[in-house]
Amino acid sequence: MIDPSLIDVVLPDDGYPAHLAAEDTRDVLWDVCGNASREFPASMWIEPKDWEAKARENDRHKAWAMQALDRYTNQGPSSHECTTHSLRANFEAARNRARGVIFPEGPRKDFTYTDSGRFGSVWLSPLSVYAEANPGQWGGANVRRVLEIAVRRGMLPDKVQPRDYQFKHVLQGTSGAGNSNQSGGRWVSMRDFPSGWEQTAKLFRPLEVVFPESYEQAVCLVLHGYAVSVGRSGHAVPWCQWMPDQRLMAYPDSYNVTRYDSERVAKSAWRGSFSIITTTVPDSWEEPAA
């Protein structure tokens, strides 16, 4: 049984205010992603009556997007970066999925998997997108803006990585506190990005992004092991697991903790959501910086 205090949590003033959320319609997201925009694949449809069986199968094989993730991020105490933290989880889940690796327990607080370095997991910097999405630092950014930036020019790696990949350009992960798997640091504007940063950022771009047209499609994507990023109640999060017993959506929140959306909240939150299906991959998994 899930601790009720972790369900339908509303955070005050977190970076996804209503006036920004209002701009995140499916049509707008489709337009800003250009060639990366994809319809929901018909092959991924699962009848609702079959959801529970599919969820049990995922449990058995640890095949959720949650188990493609090897870390939490921490934007706290309040950096207004939530849409970019949700974006990085969505991206990293898709990339680790392509790598073929499963982190059996998903993100764990104050814990680094030794397998993260062994299997080439790269930790990306939400701040590297947020700095462009909102040069004013405070007030948040909508999905339209952060997704357009990520598709166009990519994300920079965090200064902290599970292994020394010899990246030429890195940035602090957040202007919040960070954690042992994410560097925290001062706010940085784009003019202070490391010279030539575009050469590294382009290595980490979403290539194919699906925009669900219904709550049911969003659930299907999660059931197929993809993350679905949504915004609701002023906060953006990546749904990474569906729990049939309580019909909850679990997400690694950008505060070092896993939280849950009830079905009631989830049904009100899927509009303006997205799922990254494929990302750029390196010429060699051993050398992600090349």
Partner: protein
């Protein structure tokens, strides 16, 4: 040399050809083993193929046994928009065979291609 050959031929006629199989135990022998897979890639097209959880778990198992086991969506590129170098050969083999398929590699060469592989077939690569 000629007298020795004649003597040997004479002995074979008298006593038959000797059994030399026992020599294998003490003569140096070179065993040629088939190449072992060091990488596999499951190539698919997301609009047509769904990757089963058991298949993903099988790839994870192979990775942990030291075989580079990855998934490749047909449209994937590197940061420059090109086919990633590591996937050029396997992608060519996969497209020729038809998707989805598992391309088994050793030393940078394609060993074989398995059409629409099951989890058991993937785990059996090792």
């Amino acid at each position: 040399m000629r007298p020795l050959v004649l003597i040997a031929a004479g002995l074979f006629v008298m006593f038959g050809v000797p059994d030399v199989s026992a020599l294998r135990d003490w003569l140096p022998v070179t065993v040629v083993k088939p190449a072992e897979a060091d990488a596999v890639v499951l190539v698919y097209e997301k609009d047509q193929h769904v990757i089963a959880p058991a298949v993903r778990a099988a790839l994870n198992t192979l990775n942990r046994e030291g075989v580079l086991a990855t998934l490749l969506e047909d449209d994937t590129t590197d940061g420059d928009g090109d086919i990633p170098e590591q996937y050029k050969l396997p992608l060519e083999a996969a497209r020729k065979a038809g998707l989805p398929c598992l391309v088994v590699m050793a030393g940078g060469k394609v060993l074989r291609v398995v059409a629409n592989p099951t989890a058991e077939q993937i785990e059996g690569v090792k």
